[in-house]
């Protein structure tokens, strides 16, 4: 890649006033660095990934409304987590966390356990228990 070919496409980096450093060759074939504002193929991939996450969040929201899962699953998706990540944040075994996704079991959870989840998601226990998301 030549220095003048370093991509300067519009990207999500712009909002944060953020530029990436790239290695490229100058007109004499010497390696140098240049800042890049972003590159479309990368931005599209990132946007798709975010879209997929948003889809997972809204699917989960619906499942909570339908009382198929507890709000825990929704908050997990909202924080871009998956089961192993959530389990390690709360310090509870994966299979137990998975069980807590069941509304009936979630309702019976004690304060202490709920508090653990609430802390991870940075919300109150009341907010955590609400199903009208």
């Amino acid at each position: 890649m030549k220095k003048n070919e370093v991509p300067q496409d519009k990207s999500n980096l712009e909002s944060a006033n953020f530029k990436e450093l790239c290695y490229a060759v100058d007109e004499n074939g010497e390696y140098t660095t240049e800042l890049s504002t972003g590159w479309d193929p990368k931005t599209i991939a990132l946007n798709n990934a975010i879209e997929a996450i948003n889809e997972r969040i809204s699917d989960s929201k619906q499942r909570v409304k339908d009382q198929k899962v507890s709000p825990l699953e929704y908050y997990m998706e909202l924080h871009k987590m998956d089961l192993p990540i959530l389990a390690s944040y709360v310090g509870i075994w994966k299979w137990r966390v998975k069980r807590h996704f069941r509304p009936a079991i979630f309702k019976k959870l004690n304060k202490k356990t709920l508090q653990k989840y609430a802390e991870v998601f940075d919300i109150t226990i009341d907010e955590l228990q609400r199903t009208d998301l």
């Binding site: 890649m1 980096l13 990436e20 590159w39 990368k42 987590m81």
Partner: protein
Amino acid sequence: MEIDFKHKQAAHCENGVVANLMTHNGFTVSEPMVFGIGSGLLFSYIPFLKVNHAPVVSYRAMPGIIFTRFAKRVGIKIKREKFSNAQTAKTRLDENLERNNPVGLQVGVFNLPYFPDEYRFHFNAHNMVVYGKRDGIYLISDPVMETVTSLTEKELEKVRFAKGTFAPKGHIYYPTAFPKKLKLEEAIIKGIKHTCRDMLAPVPIVGVKGIRKIAKLIRKWPKSKGIKTANHYLGQIVRMQEEIGTGGGGFRYIYAAFLQEAGKLLENNKLLELSKEMTLIGDQWRDFAVEASRIYKNRSNSGAVDHYDHVATLLENLANKEEVFFKKLKKAI
């Protein structure tokens, strides 16, 4: 206290931290040099791990290993510490700052407030330097940022104790002892040999063979996983290739820059030629990303199966090119 620390932006966080820490201690080393000597270049597919619900492909060595190899090869000593307790972790960091010692830190990206929201995933192998503390605020030199930044005590604790894969556990590291002169020449040769060995390894998921394996999987995905999932997987492969700051062709260009610098230092013209060749390979990785993005741009693509075959072929060509390349590189030193 504030340590007089020179922040220099880098393409990749780990190389950048090492290069900046070395420079601070009076040994000017470039980012590509760190990457090359530490044998950072790699290709690997990790079948048993999933990140963001997609398979993981890595274009560089495991987090932390670049510095370890670099240190061993140039003859410096490093100290690494991990903590189970956040309070001890904080105390130890403060002690180091007190002693005017800037330290490298491994952190999670998800809670980094100065990162653009879209880039905040649960990725735990980011690196930064803490070079001071003013009124309870830590002064941060994050190598992928253009300028220095800062974090509150609470923010720093959160990123140091992020959870999940590669959980940092408050990990800090810094060089402790230096030789009179760095053994660069020897180190370069060791670094190159190691990279050649890795890339040509007879393991189905590593190096050239790993690229072929992924190409094969890409051909299967649209049928076995459905177009939607296949697009998601393909997007993740490109995102890994183009991690923050490796802009197009990713790590291949950094490696080409290393070969150029090494060729001059060792007065080896073959390396200069190979640097040019690596640049072209980097360009082809870029082409692969462009072609792949054409597929996942259009989420409902009817002719997509052919396109998948096409990008798989591009990858296979790349595997062939890199195989020839690393065989030549092995002989060149």
